[in-house]
């Protein structure tokens, strides 16, 4: 019983190793990229279009809309990063229905890597939008006393992001494994279905939290709190964090 797919090592040479996490990640990447490429190879700009194209358009425009609803003014700029986050986590969960598959998101290394990406991306987008000085001054608001707390908040929420996803994915796999030993029939299927739902919810939470962090970095710090959308964003952050 492995707690993490990191422990399943196929090949090892010094610092380099090829474990299940990396292999399954590659597999997911392959599926995502090849699927996209195959569908987008013959895109139609007419009113008539294939069902696969329709599906992809729905997904892409759906993500776009979500990003916009959180409060980012130019969602297409963030679509690559945030959309990939969502798609990767969602696909990782979805493939749990394949026997023998270990979700890479069930490894703390993967979730940590994703969280690190978010941790780096938030100030990057913030600085891109507002400039270095203005972004850094945001940490000293409302007073300079808040600086250490802001920094702690920044790090802790990244940690929470990583651990939340890891815990949920790992627990899903774990519960399934345990239930299989206790009640091998029917019940694991229900739990598996529940696991799919949880995985989708986690994918949504992970990406929406990243979106909210980026929105906060680009907007809330750059402008004085003036109107409703900011509070709404904060509220959303709160509600999502609680889940």
């Amino acid at each position: 019983m492995n707690l993490s797919p990191d422990n399943i090592i196929y090949w090892h040479m010094g610092f380099f190793k090829l474990n299940a996490t990396i292999v399954f990640t590659w597999g997911l990447m392959l599926v995502l990229v090849l699927g996209s490429k195959m569908i987008t190879r013959k895109l139609s700009t007419e009113l008539q279009r294939s069902r696969w194209q329709n599906l992809l358009e729905m997904i892409v425009t759906g993500i776009n809309q979500q990003i916009e609803e959180v409060g980012l003014k130019h969602p297409q700029k963030y679509l690559g990063f945030l959309g990939t986050l969502f798609l990767f986590v969602a696909m990782a969960s979805l493939f749990t229905i394949v026997p023998g598959y270990e979700p890479p998101t069930g490894s703390l290394s993967t979730t940590a890597a994703l969280a690190i990406c978010v941790f780096v991306a938030v100030p990057m987008f913030g600085i891109e939008e507002n400039g270095v000085g203005k972004y850094l001054r945001g940490y000293m608001k409302p007073t300079i006393i808040m600086l250490p707390f802001n920094i702690i908040s920044e790090i802790s929420r990244t940690l929470a992001l990583a651990v939340r996803l890891f815990g949920n994915m790992m627990s899903g796999t774990m519960i399934l494994a345990i239930l299989l030993t206790i009640t091998p029939f029917i019940f694991p299927i229900i739990m598996s279905a529940l696991g799919l739902l949880t995985g989708m919810v986690q994918a949504y939470i992970f990406s929406i939290l990243a979106t909210v962090y980026i929105a906060a970095a680009t907007r809330v710090r750059s402008t004085k709190p003036e109107n409703g959308p900011e509070e709404a964003t904060e509220d959303k952050t709160e509600s999502v964090s609680r889940s």
């Binding site: 474990n19 990396i22 590659w26 990447m29 995502l32 700009t45 776009n64 959309g83 290394s109 890597a113």
Partner: protein, 276 residues
């Protein structure tokens, strides 16, 4: 240790590659397709709007054309009606004129017929008169009409005034031809001799006298030379008689009453003295 740092690094790299690949193969093409479609739709809508505007413009143009056409048609219709009215009036006038002409012709024909009837009437009347006179004279005085007419003619010759005789003499003398005595009947040798004697006494004997018979002569007997003429005629009697008959007929046709009873007496005129 739950975190394997090599895996973390590898996963970060993997994720960044995935981001790049999906951007390249998923988001850009899909968003491009959507944008292109939206552009097409916008273009189509704009095109449709333009076409609609064009159609509206054309519709208005056609409406104006229709109105102009209607107006023109009405104008032309009015013109045609006017022309027809004028034509009708002209035709009516022409027909009226034709009818008038026909009426005039008919009247003329009627007059001619009446005239010929009158002539016929006067001739037959004359003949009747002659017949009656002849019969009466032979019954009463045992003399012929011809003889009596000759006597009357001779009486008239003798009763001419001196001025008239002078005028006649000069006229007959100037004439180069012979004197012509025309009668409606053949004269006997005795009568001819009497006439020759009478003329000779009056005009001198140098002139040759010819006798001619014209059965249709209205006047009973006439002497003519070089346009001058002395005659005894019942033409006036006949004219007067015809007038009275006409009056009678007219009165009868107007009133449908009885003809007037009184008949004017026929008075003989003197010598018909005419010449040109």
């Amino acid at each position: 240790m739950l975190i394997d740092w090599f895996t973390v690094i590898a996963q970060v790299i993997n994720f960044l590659i995935l981001v790049w690949l999906l951007k390249r193969f998923l988001y850009q093409p899909i968003l491009g397709a959507i944008d292109a479609r939206e552009k097409r739709i916008a273009a189509k809508i704009a095109d449709a709007d333009a076409k609609e505007a064009e159609a509206e413009k054309q519709r208005q143009a056609y409406q104006q054309k229709n109105e102009a056409f209607d107006q023109q048609r009405n104008t032309q219709m009015n013109e045609v009606l006017e022309a027809a009215k004028v034509e009708r009036a002209q035709l009516l006038d022409a027909t009226r004129q034709d009818a008038e002409d026909l009426r005039v012709r008919l009247e003329q024909a009627l007059r001619n017929e009446q005239h010929s009837l009158n002539e016929e009437l006067s001739r037959s009347t004359r003949e009747e008169v002659f017949a009656i006179a002849r019969k009466t004279l032979s019954d009463l005085a045992d003399i012929s009409l011809e003889q009596r007419m000759t006597e009357i003619f001779l009486d008239r010759l003798r009763e001419l005034s001196t001025a008239q005789i002078t005028e006649l003499t000069s006229a007959f003398k100037k004439s180069s031809g012979t004197l012509l005595v025309r009668t409606a009947f053949a004269l006997s040798a005795q009568q001819r001799a009497a006439i020759e004697t009478a003329i000779g006494e009056m005009l001198g004997k140098e002139k040759q006298i010819e006798f001619d018979t014209l059965p249709g002569l209205v006047s009973g007997i006439e002497l003519s030379a070089d346009g001058r003429k002395i005659a005894w005629s019942i033409a006036d009697y006949l004219g007067s008689l015809a007038q009275r008959v006409d009056d009678l007929l007219k009165n009868r046709s107007e009133t449908e009453g009885p003809a007037p009873a009184d008949m004017a007496t026929i008075t003989p005129e003197g010598v018909d003295h005419s010449g040109h």
